[in-house]
Symmetry: C2
Subunit: 339 residues, 2 copies
């Protein structure tokens, strides 16, 4: 599992350009705030934890540049933070990571040396990355207990290495089970409109030699009926206080299909994805993305004739979720979670 | 609604090349059996009733060519029929139309004049086309009673003009309601992998000025939850004696989502789609199509690395179907149907 979607070396930030996968496996440099924002906005990096890590490093890169120009101050960092947080409103990890960077700055803003402030921010960003990696490992350990031998697992979108910088959230139990010699097979929903399943999940599972089969999203119900699916595991972009879960569009329908077929449906997420400030799913803001994500596929030239809805996420009510696979164990109600 | 996907004039067969829609609206000639087979196989014409009509005309075109070469005989027509029927195993209308053409030949094969046989076959093919058109009109009249004012309807795949040669099956009640002044709006599922919803249904609804919104298949559940959907109507490729219905992949999942959200789910079909010889859905043969239909979208070059499932259809059990909209009225159990 030695695949690193986010690299940070000598104060330089690099990411795999995920929009080029599976055809091209290349890293791109993100030398400044502008390139970081563009990469997040255009989905070159995506997945709630990976966005958070990239934003933390991006915060550092921008703060470092400001420091060199002697312009590092509270106002500049506030404007920087706002820019980053506004990029993807649904993923809670983004604002969580940026706020931690801001807090770190506040803690050190009275330090005499600007170098010390920069060092503190660098260390904090690295720590956020390391924490997410450790969280993935623990999610894997928690979730592996749910995986029978042999196992047929279904997943949606990409909640793997590429999404987290670690071994993933939804895919962590899969990788851990492989590691301990279980025979796992994964049905990968392609995940329209952007194809994170087809392009990313299939690619990284294949890269790590996990047997898998690609299907279109609308086949999931039929596969549950005609094949034996042991469980569904998805990631999450935001989990509210009552357990309602925002995740990639299609997750809600998948949870209903799982319930209908009596297939257990699990959500895997680090603790940073839980947002106790939001009482339930009705209060989650859902990002609406460009209609071109949908029309581009179909050789539709006269786009103005096309009225399209493109919510990037949906909300799965807690009642449809069998359990939450977290670094702290598996829970079937978020109330049981303790930090 | 003056849109003709299948034209037959002066013994020449022309169809709209539906693989070029929505970008190009062009007719192509089908001058011989080979071109007819290729058009059906490559989905230039698709939709169970339209395939049946095209196969009937194709049967005539081929028989006419054989007659000119003095090679029109039972064996030649049997081989011809087998070729046509094998093209798309799930659509019952195809074998139904071809068998009617064969029966017509048998009825006339003792006629003294070969011209009379050819005339009889021509008339039979035209009659099959006219019957399908009339059936669509009646489906529209039956189904219009189900459409409230105003109405929000969801549909999957294309069961409209392009699929039938008439005003459609699933879309017939929509067109009839428009005609009688109701405010209808249609949510169109794009229908992966081939995009009949995005490319064909949206195009023909727009061509006929019916307001509609395009969504990806995995949004259907979320739309049912967040918008008021009055009913779902789909077409059918084959309906068995107990009411189980084979239709485009994704229909089964859509029916489960409709049931979960208490949205009525209707199947619209001409009587030719009902196949009483098959007791239930377990006995329907499901066509598996090329994996390229799925991988082509995602810039996947190394296709050999990709294991893909691509069932073209699924089977929705009768228990998930609120009713069948037929030319003979609306039924909630197929046992009630009488010819």
């Amino acid at each position: 599992m030695n695949l690193e979607p986010i690299l940070f070396e000598n104060d330089c930030l690099k990411i795999i350009d995920q929009t080029r996968l599976p055809d091209k496996f290349i890293y791109i440099n993100l030398p400044d705030l502008k390139s970081v924002c563009k990469a997040i906005r255009s989905l070159k990096i995506r997945g709630a934890p990976a966005i958070g890590i990239t934003a933390a490093y991006g915060f550092f890169v921008a703060a470092n540049a400001l420091a060199k120009k002697k312009k590092l101050n509270t106002d500049a960092l506030l404007s920087l933070a706002e820019k980053l947080i506004g990029l993807r409103p649904t993923a809670v990890n983004l604002s969580w990571a940026v706020k931690r960077m801001q807090d770190e700055y506040k803690k050190h803003s009275d330090d005499t040396s600007i170098e010390q402030v920069v060092d503190a921010l660098r260390n904090k960003a690295i720590m956020i990355h390391q924490e997410e990696k450790a969280a993935c490992e623990k999610i894997g350990e928690s979730g592996e207990k749910l995986i029978p031998q042999p196992a047929n697992i279904m997943t949606h979108c990409n909640a793997g290495i590429l999404a987290t910088g670690g071994i993933g959230t939804a895919l962590a139990p899969v990788y851990k089970s492989m590691g301990s010699g279980k025979n796992v097979h994964v049905f990968v929903n392609e995940t329209r409109p952007v194809g994170q399943g087809a392009r990313l999940t299939y690619w990284e599972l294949n890269y790590n030699k996990v047997p898998c089969t690609l299907i279109t999203d609308n086949m999931a119900g039929w596969i549950m009926k005609s094949k034996k699916i042991d469980l569904v595991i998805t990631g999450a972009d935001r989990i509210t206080a009552n357990g309602d879960t925002a995740n990639k569009i299609g997750t809600y329908a998948l949870a209903i299909l799982a319930k209908y077929h009596k297939v257990p449906f699990y959500v895997a997420a680090p603790l940073s994805t839980f947002d106790f400030k939001i009482p339930d799913g009705y209060n989650i803001m859902i990002e609406e993305r460009d209609k071109e994500e949908i029309t581009n596929f179909w050789n539709i030239k006269k786009k103005r004739l096309y009225k399209v809805m493109n919510p990037a996420f949906d909300v799965t009510p807690a009642s449809l979720i069998t359990g939450y696979i977290t670094p702290a164990g598996i829970f079937n109600r978020i109330e049981n979670l303790t930090y």
